[in-house]
Symmetry: C2
Subunit: 391 residues, 2 copies
Amino acid sequence: MKNFEFYLPTKVFFGKKVLRQFPKEVSGIGKKALWVFGRGSIMRNGVYDQVKEILKKAKIEYIEFGGVKANPLLSKVLEGIKVAKEEKVDFILATGGGSVIDTAKAIACGVFAEEKIWDFYERKDFPKQALPIIAVPTIAGTGSELNNISVIVNDETKVKLSMNSPWIFPKFTFLDPTFTFTVPPDYTAYGAFDAFSHVFEVFISREYKKDCLTEDLMVALMKNLMKWSKAAMYDPTNYEARANLMWASSLALCGLSKAGMGKYRFFIHALEHTLSGVYDLPHGLGLAVITYAWMKVYKKNKLLHKFFEKVLNIKVEDKISVEMGIEVFENWLRDLRLLYTLKDLKLPQEDLEYLIDKAYHILTIWQVADEYSKEEVSKVFYTAYFGESKP
Amino acid sequence: MKNFEFYLPTKVFFGKKVLRQFPKEVSGIGKKALWVFGRGSIMRNGVYDQVKEILKKAKIEYIEFGGVKANPLLSKVLEGIKVAKEEKVDFILATGGGSVIDTAKAIACGVFAEEKIWDFYERKDFPKQALPIIAVPTIAGTGSELNNISVIVNDETKVKLSMNSPWIFPKFTFLDPTFTFTVPPDYTAYGAFDAFSHVFEVFISREYKKDCLTEDLMVALMKNLMKWSKAAMYDPTNYEARANLMWASSLALCGLSKAGMGKYRFFIHALEHTLSGVYDLPHGLGLAVITYAWMKVYKKNKLLHKFFEKVLNIKVEDKISVEMGIEVFENWLRDLRLLYTLKDLKLPQEDLEYLIDKAYHILTIWQVADEYSKEEVSKVFYTAYFGESKP
């Protein structure tokens, strides 16, 4: 195993009605919150009312800051920073999906950085402090509730970038699987695929390739994500399915999967960030399309074969077994209704070269562009578009 | 899954030469340390010199506090508290095995409790503060470096008890697998079995019995512990074996295994604590003997069958397959040179009834005595002694 650091200071409360523990736990961190949420789903599913009641019980004053959209925008972050400063809030409460939590994280350290916040995403600077963050996820997926990552889209340039900082670990995360009962099947699938992808990308691109504990933990995570995502899609109020999906998603990007794996690349994420940055496509859907294309282009990848063997139980011995592996994976995508090409999704074909350039730009910011040829990026995009690398 | 909390604020540095990061990380927490260690193994394996050099580099003053023995004693803890107070140290540095780290934890909160420290172990009171703790393990096993548990033996009463407190999570843990290269085969096996037992006991006694992510994570941990312990015993400087064993041991008791499992019982540990409290037997050896006896007594336990199926790959369909499961487990114990009865270990037969009483006392302190009959405890002890429940 390679050297690594592991740090996960977020305190997790998991299960039915865990918000009840909120008043007791939160009392120490402040009296006034900026309450960040999305575009109304928490109104419809009752989470809004529950949180409101809890805040009242905890005697916490709050400023509502709703309207955060999927693929969250820098402009919204800047707006939130302004409100948080004006209102002198003590902490940020995020109730929603990854975009809401990522926005809350950006605001939390943005209060001390203001317009320079984007420098953190461009990796020109690093946060030096942040307000405490409390996360109450309402969908299983990004894992933002249990890590130090935030992903934001710059509205002007349409560039979607991520920042890492120990300052943005949520202080508390309340995971109530029943909050996800009302997540519709398509978004259940998007979230599940996102979480799956966080493990899969490490699995297939890691520097350390041998059998080891971390590999087996990744296998367990991916198997469970594949199994419970299907169950949760077709039986939305199945508590065990939602609970397993939620916990697996939180653990998927918390550091366990990369422990000892050395370098790894979120190549598929880089390509997908281009799509969801430009077209506002659901992140999980974009990932599914790119992952399937990647698999067809990188058929010979030995770690993909290991994935087939350990996760899909298909021992790779020849070309046919590789095709079988892809087919079994394809079946899962079909079950999750995620089996599309970019063409099916009606993305404009004439944008392809622009997308390839943009993806290359992200790889450059990540300082890994030299590891990939433009031809490789192009091949994956063309395969994602046409179903094969040459139309 | 049942409701749970998960909290793991220790920052881990893992790999070769990770102590190099010590000065930078530790600079914020103080200038003077109580340096706790054992009975000389760190002198022989070079760890003492390395830590000394690092402390010098970090400009940290220190008071050496060596001589902690396996099954660490309350009297030693009290002595440590006195020194820590007199010398006004800022933090406790533990370099050694579980007993050293557990002693450091006891001293860290004992500084604020003095003689009342034993109340924490008897669960009559709880720590309200503690000095920061830094752990540098030199053996894989207890997992004390990545949890909030401390186990101490009261020298007067020979009772071995544990305490849990959020105050005693180490702030930093430096895990260098090469530090365990010199651990002799027998102690490698004891440590590995201890770690295995931390997962196994949850696996077989949990309230939540269904297939789930946590179960699969436990399976991955147990499989890896079984595999790498053998490798490390027979090839002591095999880095991959030592690294996997070390990381698996740290994760084994960090909260991942119990997440969502509801109630579980450390019944085997309770019985073993009696042995190592009274005879100063190595904890891991005692656990192996009791576990093997437990398995023979509780042959019909459905979760044991699940263990056979998922960890040992033996599907239980009839009595013969149960015997096969036990046999495969027995083979692992034989490989680890842990296949003994208490009689083999020359424990006095006339003590049996005394041991049974003492074990029952521990179950009482743990408030679970009503779940077990004295006959059950007796059966396991007699089986552990004679190899069968009736001599």
